[in-house]
Structures are given as C-alpha cells and as structure tokens.
C-alpha cells in the first residue's frame, strides 16, 4: 500500500496547437495549410497527497492546473510520467476508478435544469448503484449539513447560484468517494454561501477522512481550508509546502483600495507603497509588521477626501509573484 492516496511523478503533457494568424488573407490561406506548434502544458510535475488532506492547487490561468486535474481524473492521457491514485492508473482503469472519485466543476452544471435536484440525485443513485438505505441516509445528511432541505424539491431553474452549487456538491459526493476534486467550488458565490460550503468541506474531511483537492482563485478558501498548498506556474510546481508557510507571503500584507471625491495629487500619497494610482483612486499596500492598519485607515480618512474605502487580501497572482522574487 502506497503511503500517499495520490502519487504523481514526472507528469508531462504536450499538446499540438494550430497557429492562428490575423487578417483575412491569412485565414484564407489557412483553408489549405496550417502550422502547428507544440505546447508543453505540463512539464514534469511531482505531486504527493496523503489520505485525509485538503490540498490547494493554485496558479494563474493557463498554468496547467486543469490539465493536471483532467489527467488525475482519467479524462486525459499524459505524454509521460506515472500516476497512482488509490492503486489505479486513472486513464487505464477509468470506469472502475471514477466510482471512487467525486468531481465538481464550479462553472459547469450536471443538474437537470427543469427538474428539482432530487431527481438528478436519484439518477446518480442509479448510475453509481448506491443502495437505497445508504442513499436516503446520505441525502438526509447533506440536506442538514448544507441547509438545502426545501431547496432539493424545487426546479433547478428557480434556485439561486449558491443553492445550485450546494446541490452540485451533493451530486459529486453522493456515491461517497474517498477522493474529491473541486474546481473553483466557490466561484461567484456570496459570502454566506461560501462559508457554508467551506464548513461543509471541513466537516466531510473530519467525519469521513475524505481527501480534497481544491483549485481556487480565492485566498480565503485556501486560508480556511487547506493544510498544504501546491502552486503551479507554466506547467511546473513552483511551491509545494504547508499553508502556514504560504501565509508568510501574504498574511501580513493587505491592500487598501481608496476612491476620492475629487482629484488628489500623487505626491501627497508619498509615504505609502502605491500599487496603482489615478487622480480619483489609489491602491496602497500595507505591511502589517510595520504599520497598524487601523492607524493607516484613520490617517487616510483624516488627510484625504475619501469617497469609499476597502481593505482586501492581496490577489493570488501577486502571492505567486512574491514567491518568484524570493
């Protein structure tokens, strides 16, 4: 038995891609001949995940995240490298392997639009051959945990985005898989729904030792959920350490976003680290180790004609940039 539930070594994936050219004449030419380029979407990745872990998988768009997820769920064959997940090689044993896997794509729906979610659940019950008692028990469990008792009996088209996402989650988890891939599970949701979904993931992880792989653009997801984070950029792993280690890159930095009532001269903002500036708005980065955020905010309100002020985490892309620089 492998000590890891997921053991990926030396994974590579190369695509051929048609080169497109601008302009009408060149598209006419493309009717007859095309040029191809090789793209190394994944260039030698190692990834080990222990059972019961919640792993964050992050990286900018086009970094190769979704290719990796697709290979790990058996949808794609890699060009090179080995993958061992729960003893399976996903793309060779696909049909048996996916019985032990739950996948949720945040931007795609598998619910039947015109019918209540409970109907899609029962279809999945049939698909994964879930015994009837187990099925009722799980549906009850999910209904309570996600607070969707009434929702599951209303047609999907009448549900809010958050309610729909919760039902999608149930679809992905109904067959009780020990391993779950969540692709952007909180995208576009309001804060309350986000929080319910996070609580739910933690609860599942505690109760059943379920392993989660989560891709996200939301740093709060990572802070609240993940023990371990893997950052991918340009097809390679650039960071593979604990969440607490990653926090040092951003936890003590905040961004203050200020809008002014009337134009403010850039010189007056001199004492702050300015990220972007227009006469009517400015973004300032604060290092919490050096400055007290409360003090800074008071200070800004005192000195400038503030219309609106927001305090935010630094975006994930900046964290990655910081890691690069260090």
């Amino acid at each position: 038995m492998n000590e890891y539930i997921i053991d990926v070594r030396g994974l590579e994936k190369t695509f051929t891609k048609v080169t497109k050219q601008e302009g009408f004449l060149s598209s006419l030419r493309m009717l007859f001949s095309r040029q191809y380029d090789l793209v190394h979407s994944v260039a030698g990745i190692d990834l080990q995940v222990r059972k019961g872990e919640i792993r964050g998988l992050i990286g900018p768009n086009g970094a190769g995240k979704s290719t990796i997820i697709k290979i790990m769920s058996g949808i794609l064959h890699p060009t090179g490298g080995t993958v061992d997940i729960m003893g399976y090689t996903p793309w060779l044993d696909r049909e048996r392997f996916v019985r032990h896997l739950g996948v949720l794509f945040g931007q795609k729906s598998q619910l039947w639009w015109d019918l209540p979610p409970i109907d899609t659940f029962s279809l999945n019950k049939e698909m994964y051959k879930i015994p009837h008692d187990e099925y009722t028990k799980r549906v009850e469990y999910f209904k309570e945990l996600l607070q969707i008792g009434d929702v599951v009996h209303q047609p999907v088209r009448t549900l809010s985005l958050g309610e729909r996402m919760k039902c999608e989650l149930v679809c992905a988890l109904l067959h009780d898989p020990p391993l779950i891939f969540l692709d952007e599970p909180t995208i576009g949701l309001d804060i309350v729904s986000k929080e319910t979904i996070r609580q739910f993931i933690k609860q599942m992880n505690r109760d059943k030792q379920t392993t989660f792989i989560i891709t996200t653009h939301d740093l709060t997801d990572l802070e609240n959920l993940c023990d371990q984070v893997t950052i991918i950029n340009k097809g390679s792993v650039v960071f593979d350490e604990s969440m607490s280690r990653l926090s040092t890159f951003f936890a003590n930095r905040k961004i203050i976003d200020v809008k002014f009532k009337h134009a403010v001269n850039e010189e007056h903002l001199a004492p702050y680290t300015i990220i972007s500036y227009t006469p009517l708005s400015v973004q300032i980065e604060i290092n919490l180790a050096e400055k007290d955020i409360k003090q800074v905010v008071y200070d800004i309100f005192d000195r400038f004609p503030v219309l609106d002020i927001n305090i935010e985490n630094i975006p994930i892309e900046d964290v990655i940039k910081h890691i690069y620089q260090s």
Binding site: H77, E95, V98, L101, K108, L115, L123, M127, K129
Partner: protein
C-alpha cells in the same frame, strides 16, 4: 452483462426524468405533438401527389407506397422516442467542452450518451405513422401470417442496432473533429436513401443498401414483410446491421483513445 443491465436501468431513469419534464411543460408538449402529427402528414401527401399525377414508381401502387410512408413515419417516431436528438446532444456537449464530464461517469461514455436520448415528443410521429399504416393496410386487404410479427420485431431490433451504429459513428467523428456543424447534415442526407423504396435505385446502390449501409431494414423490408414479398437479401441486411454496430463500437473506442490522449 452487468454493465448492460446497469445501462438499461440508467435508460429507464432518463425516461422517467424526461416524462416528468414533459409534464412540467404540458402545454408545449401537447401542442408539439399536434404539430408533429401535422408535419408528418406532408410526406404521405407528396407521395399521394406523385402517384395521382404520374404512374408512380415501378412495382408500387398508391396504397403500397402509402403503407411504406406509414411505416417510415412509424420508424421515425420509434427512433425519436428512443433516441431523440442524440446527435444534437453530442454536438452540444463537445462544442461546449462538457464532453469530458461524461468520462467521469462509471460507464462507457457512449453507453451513457445512448441512454440519455429518450424523448416523449416523438410519440406524435408514431401515432401518425401507425394511423397511415393501418389505413393503407386495410385498403390493401393485406393478411397477417404466423411469421409477420416475429419478422417485424426482428427488423425493428436490427433497425435500432443500425441506428445506434450510425449515432456511434457520428459521435466518433465529432469527438475527433470537434467543430463540425455540418456533419449532422451529411448523415441526414445519406440516411435519406433509406426513405425511398430500394428497388427504384440501380443495382449498385441496392447492394449498398443491404450491405454496408443496410438502411433497407428500417422501412423497406418491414413494408415487404407486410406485403408478403420478402427476399433472401433481407437476412443479409440484418446481418450487416449487427456487423455495422460492432464496427462502430470499434471505431468509437479508437477515436476515444485518440481523444483522451490528445486532449479536447
């Protein structure tokens, strides 16, 4: 075998869901059925015009051709009820990039696809076809022998196998070539050869229609069975339907392998 029963149960569930969906949009459903009965009437009407204004095709009287048209409509109806617009569904899935999700199901993706086409709306064409068939059959004073129904059932089964073969081939081509708006049109046009009595074609095409494109099992042979003028080529057409099904599965597996190694 376990996979097969699993898929059948999946099919039954899809059927249930489609029926409940049709009941939610009851008005659209019922008006849709009336409209499809109305539109179904046009093809027999056109044949009626040909036969009353000319001498028609060799070897067919007006009532015989109406029987053919009735069975053709019935076949379209059965096909649409059982498989609906699967080809459109496949196009959509591949086009939107949702096809990958089928690979996350614990069944063969083509199995899941074939199980998700049930469409109650096809019932309109079934009803119209049944009506025309019965009327024409009564006009012809036809008689039903001991073997009529077993043979008709055999033809239907072979016809469905062949239709699945066509659908699977279509799906295989679509996942290989992705953006193919017109390939569906091509399939439709080729299948149109099956909508005319085989004996109006020259012998080369007739041979095609009982061998590699055995469309004759859909309507031609069922009509011949009811008219009690079957020939031995019927068995060839049946055998080829099964062979085509088997070949299409081979093709699908090959294309799927290629798809998963290339990545959509």
């Amino acid at each position: 075998m376990a996979t097969f029963t699993g898929l059948l149960r999946l099919y039954a569930w899809h059927m249930k869901l489609n029926v409940s969906k049709s009941m939610i949009y009851r008005f659209d459903f019922i008006s849709g059925i009336f409209i499809s009965i109305l539109i179904s009437g046009i093809a027999p009407f056109m044949q009626y015009l040909y036969f009353t204004q000319t001498r028609g095709y060799p070897g067919w009287t007006l009532n015989q051709i109406l029987l053919f048209q009735g069975l053709l409509l019935l076949w379209f109806g059965i096909r649409d009820v059982l498989f609906g617009d699967i080809r459109g569904l496949i196009m959509n899935l591949v086009w939107k990039g949702d096809f990958d999700r089928l690979l996350l199901k614990p069944y063969s993706p083509i199995g899941v696809l074939l199980c998700s086409g049930f469409q109650l709306n096809g019932i309109g064409s079934c009803l119209a076809g049944l009506l025309v068939t019965i009327l024409a059959f009564l006009q012809l004073d036809g008689s039903i022998g001991l073997w009529t129904f077993p043979l008709l059932i055999l033809m239907t089964v072979c016809g469905l196998m062949l239709y699945m073969a066509v659908t699977i081939t279509f799906a295989a081509i679509v996942i290989m070539l992705i953006q193919m708006g017109r390939i569906g049109e091509m399939f439709e046009k080729i299948m149109e050869f099956g909508t005319y009595p085989m004996n109006i074609f020259p012998s080369g095409i007739r041979i095609l229609m009982v061998t590699i494109l055995p469309f004759a099992v859909w309507t031609y042979y069922p009509t011949q069975i009811l008219l009690q003028r079957v020939d031995h080529q019927m068995w060839v057409a049946c055998a080829f339907s099964l062979i085509m099904f088997w070949l299409s599965i081979k093709l699908w597996n090959r294309c799927l392998r290629k798809y998963t190694s290339a990545g959509g």
